[in-house]
Symmetry: C2
Subunit: 429 residues, 2 copies
């Protein structure tokens, strides 16, 4: 059924529209965006609210919500070891519990699509579909079989490659579920495996999601081992000829930024996680300047410890201003674009990401009645600097209403939270 | 009447107590903190909640909430000019509107005490008292009479000094209202005025609240004018012999940090504002190492744009880790202490700030039923990394219940928000 939403204001890629109306057709696409039309039969009166495109989380490991607060004060490599130790005890049921908790939190915070790297199988992808979200899911791969999820899958490179391709075939044409190859990182995957994945990606069209240049330890290790920094190492065997989404990119050199730009490689900026783990501050202004395809990510809860993209938007806007002593270093409008239109494109959902006619209707409504929305300078100022995930009151994905007035319409919050708490109780911290 | 609160867990300076109980006596002081006593007549059953001391905002300009989103993309000096331009049109009623909106937001976010520099008079202080908060209020002073609040008060140095002292006399012994001298900054106040204020402070015991070393522009200007960096300039005429709360301290030299340490000067760390205005990143680890008295501040909404200290806690914990590539740079527990016990002491409310017997009962309750509190690794991990102001459900200040289940018990939220929005409508952006 056609839905017609009325709201005080909405955000389009070209500006804000007050006294706004948005129509969603039977196919879950946006049929009208503009000022309210007097004759419309409004189905959702959202006066006192603002409409935005759903936010896009460009890098996470959803199921790791059960590891919230694990190893809070460790640097990157010791933290990773603690996480991998925890994962030795994980069952597939635990992964279900973590994934569902993540979706609960992402939806409540206005995230409608996410790029994820972890253990994935058909049943888990069906859970995302039932919850109503969009995911670019990358089954994780390591060359070293000792890490990963021994209780769940062997993570043998060839086997996971085959799994990824069969899942991609199974969900071919699905508007909610897309697959990516998930080689973990240059320091955990051999050049042989990475080369094979790039070649297969170019043949199958399945994109690649990988961690690149996250920590100084990684840069040092890769440079020592291969004589090149991580992205240059990958480029040396034409890895980026494939369609690649590279997470973190904290320590890219100017040359590596150029490689990203001319190969069309997408970068996911994860400022909270990068600060918390002591990894550093990525060169967002240079990446913007170079025209790199960008997306914004929370990374997993184990290094964040929440899944609120409004927090990442604010931090990505102000962080680079501060560390460079330049209030013009990053514009709020650029970061909002990264968190929506550009992010959706970077993770393979180019038909979502903006409130424009013809796009998939991923729409969230923010409450404007709170003190932090008062006075309202502009919608983009509110979104960038004072809104929080708590302001999200309604979520539509592809026109389907999945969250309303703080209540989940597709997920059982109490059951999911109890289950996730029980997993942690069993596995400890 | 005695209040007995039961909660799942509470935070004391020495650790967390589960299955917890807190008793508040008739004088608004904490009479018991510990595990639940079977015989207690519980008056407030807060199962599913955690108790914390109220948070302390160590630097703000409350009334500037009406300037939310003003000049979002400007660097420090142009931003300051825009703010001062806006203030030319302010009336005292507008200041009331801004102050009340700030209190609404601070209380809802669990802030129970704040250090403020702006226009203050007896009526405004009575409003704080009625709302139930604690304030260290500093009537702002500038040597240049062209800036300030021409529609409200002349800001003549001598007159404001007298006002400050008479207000301090009027509220002598008050547990909610304390006064400070408010010379704006070394670059807006002459050495003569600053010297006089320091001398009067040492005589009267009224502390001083001042901005110090906020921007590089300030450091350059002061160094050029006086041949010394800002804090060294102030020290050259023994300014710090008084009891001083210095806001920002972004660019302190190691020598200036030593001056702060040996003079007992307090520093207020305002990471969000410092990043947003492009001011920089203060040396929090060195200030902690030197044993400086510290407090955490939001600064005004005009450079933040919200008043949520949970955001400052998380950022203060992770920011320095990231910029130094050292996950051990700042511990969460230190920042929580700065936001509570240490902060309360730094702004003159040393009897509040912690859940300990004998202290003033400034207590907030956080909801633990949300997804971001699941699983709950530890209360301090939740507070530092995943909680937000939205988790605050109950606020008691000096034992008085002023916020319950998201409702203000001392302030009329609708009226206050409408009034603040009208001010902005009139004054524009």
């Amino acid at each position: 059924m056609t839905k017609i939403l009325r709201a005080d204001v909405l955000l389009t890629p070209t500006g804000e529209i007050s006294n706004a109306e948005l129509e969603i057709d039977d196919n879950g696409r946006i049929a009208y965006v503009g000022v309210a039309r007097p004759e419309s039969a409004v189905t959702h009166d959202l006066s006192g609210h603002a409409l935005l495109p759903g936010l896009v989380n460009g890098h996470t490991h959803s199921a790791m919500t059960v590891q919230r607060g694990v190893s809070d004060d460790e640097g990157f490599m010791p933290w990773l070891a603690a996480v991998q130790q925890f994962e030795q005890g994980l069952t597939r049921d635990d992964i279900v519990a973590g994934l569902e908790l993540a979706m609960l939190e992402m939806i409540a915070n206005g995230t409608t699509a996410f790029a994820d790297m972890y253990h994935w199988d058909e049943g888990l992808l069906e859970l995302v579909k039932e919850a109503g979200m969009r995911v670019l899911a990358a089954p994780a791969m390591f060359t070293n079989e000792a890490v990963g999820f021994p209780g769940v899958s062997p993570l043998n490179g060839a086997e996971t490659l085959d799994l990824t391709e069969s899942l991609a075939e199974r969900f071919k044409g699905d508007e909610q579920i897309k697959l990516a190859y998930g080689p973990h990182a240059p320091y955990t995957c051999s050049p042989e495996l990475l080369r094979e994945i790039s070649e297969r990606s170019q043949r199958t069209g399945i994109p690649i999601h990988i961690h690149v240049s996250e920590s100084r330890a990684e840069v040092e290790q890769i440079t020592e081992q291969y004589g090149r920094t991580p992205a240059a190492h990958l480029d040396s065997f034409d890895f980026f000829d494939a369609n690649v989404l590279a997470a973190h990119c904290v320590h890219l050199t100017p040359e590596e930024i150029s490689i990203f730009a001319h190969t069309g490689t997408a970068a996911s900026h994860n400022p909270v996680s990068n600060l918390k783990l002591g990894c550093g501050v990525a060169s967002l202004p240079e990446m913007l300047e170079a025209g790199i395809r960008l997306t914004l990510g929370t990374d997993s809860v184990a290094s964040n410890n929440s899944l609120d993209l409004f927090e990442e938007i604010k931090l990505a806007t102000i962080l680079h201003r501060g560390v460079r002593h330049d209030a013009a270093a990053v514009k709020a409008s650029d970061v909002i674009d990264i968190a929506t239109r550009s992010g959706a494109e970077a993770i393979g959902f180019a038909e979502a990401g903006a409130l424009e006619v013809g796009r998939l209707a991923d729409v969230i409504a923010l409450d404007l009645s709170t003190s932090r929305a008062t006075p309202l300078s502009s919608l983009s100022s509110f979104v960038a600097f004072s809104a929080s995930g708590e302001d999200v009151r309604e979520v539509f994905i592809g026109g389907r209403h999945i969250y309303s007035k703080g209540e989940h319409l597709t997920l059982d919050a109490d059951r999911i939270q109890a289950r996730a708490a029980a997993v942690r109780e069993r596995l400890g911290s």
